[in-house]
């Protein structure tokens, strides 16, 4: 482990990569564009999965699993979907290798598939092909299914967690008997995402609708949550799509409604991915390493003894094991590092780099005083605490850190959200980073023009905000409300 990480001010992008590598979250693999998620990074994903899965289940969703391969023809069935997804993808054309006369392994040309298979970039098509068999009547609805899976989108320029050819995600695919219920589901999931991301990842988000240029290929409306990273760029953290009857029509999925008439099924789909780990890093971490909100930290507390001889070591280990048991009894995730192969200073640096929220160190004098030394990762504050009060102190500090991290990120977001009415000012603000709330005339043409000039896109169109009328920042045409512009990941 090297502690040399680039500072954010020097090179944000390099800082990001340094954190991912030095905190042991992930690395590039021998396969172009694909990452290896290392155990520490994967443990964060497991915490996310477990929390989000519970939220899905509490709202009536169940998990299932659909094939990784999708026949090429399935994509052609939904016109806009195929343009968005079937282009940059992994194509399976053969199902056998063989030895050539020199003993080399080559593709067996006789084992060519009649129809090519696409490695799923998203599963709407294969799932709606299946739903056709499952849905006959309104009694079969709603169908509320989620899948945890790997997906592949061929990316030319990749960045760990943010954009890789293969990534992990969950994709929900629901079916409903009418439009209102499908929209209600789409919005319910958006609210779950916002709740999950704000209260567990401690990342404040803005939520709303995507413009037609930015929406999901095949959706009527795409809802999204967007977060602001420390470099002032926006990051799409999750999307929830109202699909109307598009996929039901493409795959001919009709049901007998309550009036006994055949109608097409209404749908939603929604997902978040391992990209959230990238958001986590870019929101909270600092120039010393990773900073993790306690709710997602694989270890919330790490215990390190400081000793000079074997007797001290034994006494400290024995005392610290008791503390670990006590904390685990409070459902706190504890790591003890009693390794004799590494010095305390090395361990301190390692756990600082890995963003463990609380570090507890104990030496012989602490033991005699029945105290320990505690360092918080968020503000690096050092305190001496009495062992007796550990049951109150540790949960309180963890809760405080969780809420402090959110407040800090929220302050940053507020300070970097600007209402702008002049286009020169707009360009300057966009260039400098942050969310810019500006009026827009509602046309894709204006959106394109603004993007061309400033590289900013509409990140989201607020739904419930006060409708403040105004004039488009570019065209001065009338506008019904301000929308969020930003440069983005």
């Amino acid at each position: 482990m090297s502690n040399k990480i680039t500072s954010r001010s020097e090179n944000f992008s390099k800082w990001y990569n340094d954190i991912i590598i030095n905190a042991d979250l992930a690395e590039n693999s021998g396969v172009r564009g694909c990452m290896v998620i290392k155990p520490y990074g994967f443990a964060i994903w497991e915490e996310m999965k477990s929390l989000l899965d519970q939220m899905f289940k509490e709202t009536g969703h169940v998990n299932a699993y659909f094939p990784i391969f999708i026949p090429k023809s399935f994509f052609s069935k939904e016109a806009s979907h195929v343009d968005g997804f079937a282009k940059e993808c992994a194509v399976v054309t053969h199902y056998r290798l063989k030895n050539d006369i020199d003993g080399n392994i080559i593709v067996d040309e006789e084992a060519k598939l009649e129809e090519e298979l696409i490695v799923r970039p998203t599963s709407e098509t294969i799932i709606w092909d299946t739903y056709k068999k499952w849905i006959k009547s309104y009694r079969d609805l709603p169908l509320l299914i989620n899948q945890w899976a790997n997906v592949v989108r061929w990316e030319m320029r990749t960045r760990l967690f943010l954009r890789t050819s293969e990534f992990l995600w969950q994709e929900g695919h629901t079916a409903h008997e009418n439009k209102d219920q499908a929209i209600e589901e789409t919005r319910k999931i958006l609210a779950i995402y916002k709740d999950f991301i704000e209260n567990n990842l401690a990342i404040p988000v803005v939520d709303g609708l995507k413009s037609s240029r930015e929406k999901f290929a095949g959706a009527i409306d795409t809802y999204c949550v967007e977060a602001l990273m420390q470099d002032g760029k926006a990051l799409q953290a999750g999307t929830s799509h109202f699909l109307g009857q598009n996929f039901a029509k493409a795959f001919d999925v009709k049901f007998a409604n309550r009036d006994g008439k055949l109608d097409y099924v209404w749908a939603s789909s929604w997902g978040v991915s391992t990209r959230l780990i990238g958001a986590l890093v870019m929101t909270h971490s600092d120039d010393r390493g990773l900073v993790l909100p306690p709710k997602l930290a694989p270890f919330q507390v790490v215990l390190v003894p400081i000793y000079h001889n074997e007797r001290e070591y034994q006494e400290l280990v024995s005392a610290m094991k008791k503390i670990a048991i006590q904390l685990r009894g409070l459902n706190i995730r504890v790591k003890t590092d009693f390794r004799d192969t590494h010095k305390p200073g090395w361990k301190f640096a390692e756990y600082e780099m890995k963003g463990v929220p609380i570090r507890i160190a104990m030496g012989p004098r602490d033991l005699a005083n029945k105290t320990f030394e505690l360092v918080r990762r968020d503000n690096l504050e050092k305190r001496t605490i009495e062992i007796d009060v550990i049951q109150d102190v540790i949960p309180n500090i963890l809760a405080e850190m969780q809420s402090n991290l959110f407040s800090k990120a929220n302050d940053f977001k507020k300070k970097n959200t600007f209402k702008v009415d002049d286009f020169d000012d707009f360009k300057a603000k966009i260039d400098n980073g942050g969310f810019v709330l500006a009026h827009w005339d509602g046309t894709p043409e204006t959106e394109d023009e603004i993007k061309k000039i400033t590289k900013a896109t509409i990140r989201c169109i607020p739904i419930d905000s006060n409708h403040e009328k105004g004039e488009c920042i570019l065209t001065k045409k009338p506008s019904l409300k301000r929308v969020f512009f930003a440069k983005s990941y």
Copy 2:
């Protein structure tokens, strides 16, 4: 849902398929050889995953994630591995589709990969390519990593859960500083599999070594657990491989050992898959439908009200909700079915088909008597129980069912395991089904000959059994111990 299922005696294979389909576990998809795991089937897999994952973590293993694609050349690096795995596989050759002049979606020949990618049939090669970067010294060992993933092996004849082109599994890949530790790990995992399968799936297994003909391509030794299905065929339930230094040599993974010298790393790999769901079905289910051991049942208890009018319905629902809360407080997984759209009889048949361990029904008379009717799925026994004692009765019955299912399967296994010394008797017993314990001279040639004549293979070579010397069943040459023969899935 249709309750018409073929009986086991009529056609075991059709019975198996009928159960899978009618209990809503899985179905074939629109993609050749790939299945859809439906929510009820997936819930069983989630229970398995959660129990097994905990056992892995308690023994020091951590999860990670490696790429789904493996460059073709990686397979060639371990000679026997490539023969076993790289032949029938999904080959990715292109990374883009495009529209042709008629608007059809076709493969873009300009987007041909320089080197083909294989969709992982197992991950030893990509993982050892990665371990090369992670392992420098004995201090980096042992490395105890597991991955939950989908894998693809192109299968021409597929059967739901038992043999599909894509399936879900876990694959452990560990690295050690010496041979003994690698073998200890291999055996530790075998013991975990046996414990997991016997105590949760309630399936008795025999454990031991595979013969050289049947072992994993690339392993020194393959350990396995084998179970006996109700039709007398054996099913491989899990394997744990001692890989020696084969993959370390193939991928040049050396470490500085405790003497400061460079040595190749020692390895194990091990896995169980969604095939276990097939084993579960074929071990316990009956001609009425699925039978599930309580520990893996998505719902352990289902509550169904029997009523004639709205008042009765309301009273029953209110009483049964209280029972459900009480049971959930005991960590029992409860489903309440208060749907007014289906009659009680229909519901009873449905939950019988789905193998819910305990069905509780209540009518107005039960309510007046403060009792309910309970039916156990394993023996279909019906009892009237007082609500007051529910906290004791239900957990006891669930525990009893769990152990009864194991005893029943174990009795079946014992009754169908035969010691045989005469080859005609051997052929007859094999033909009839069951494990046949017979002497074997230890040569692959004899094993092949026996397989040719009887279709039986050596399922496993016991490790710790008393070494009873004898003569080979076919060649009469000397043999050190009996081995398990059977026809298998």
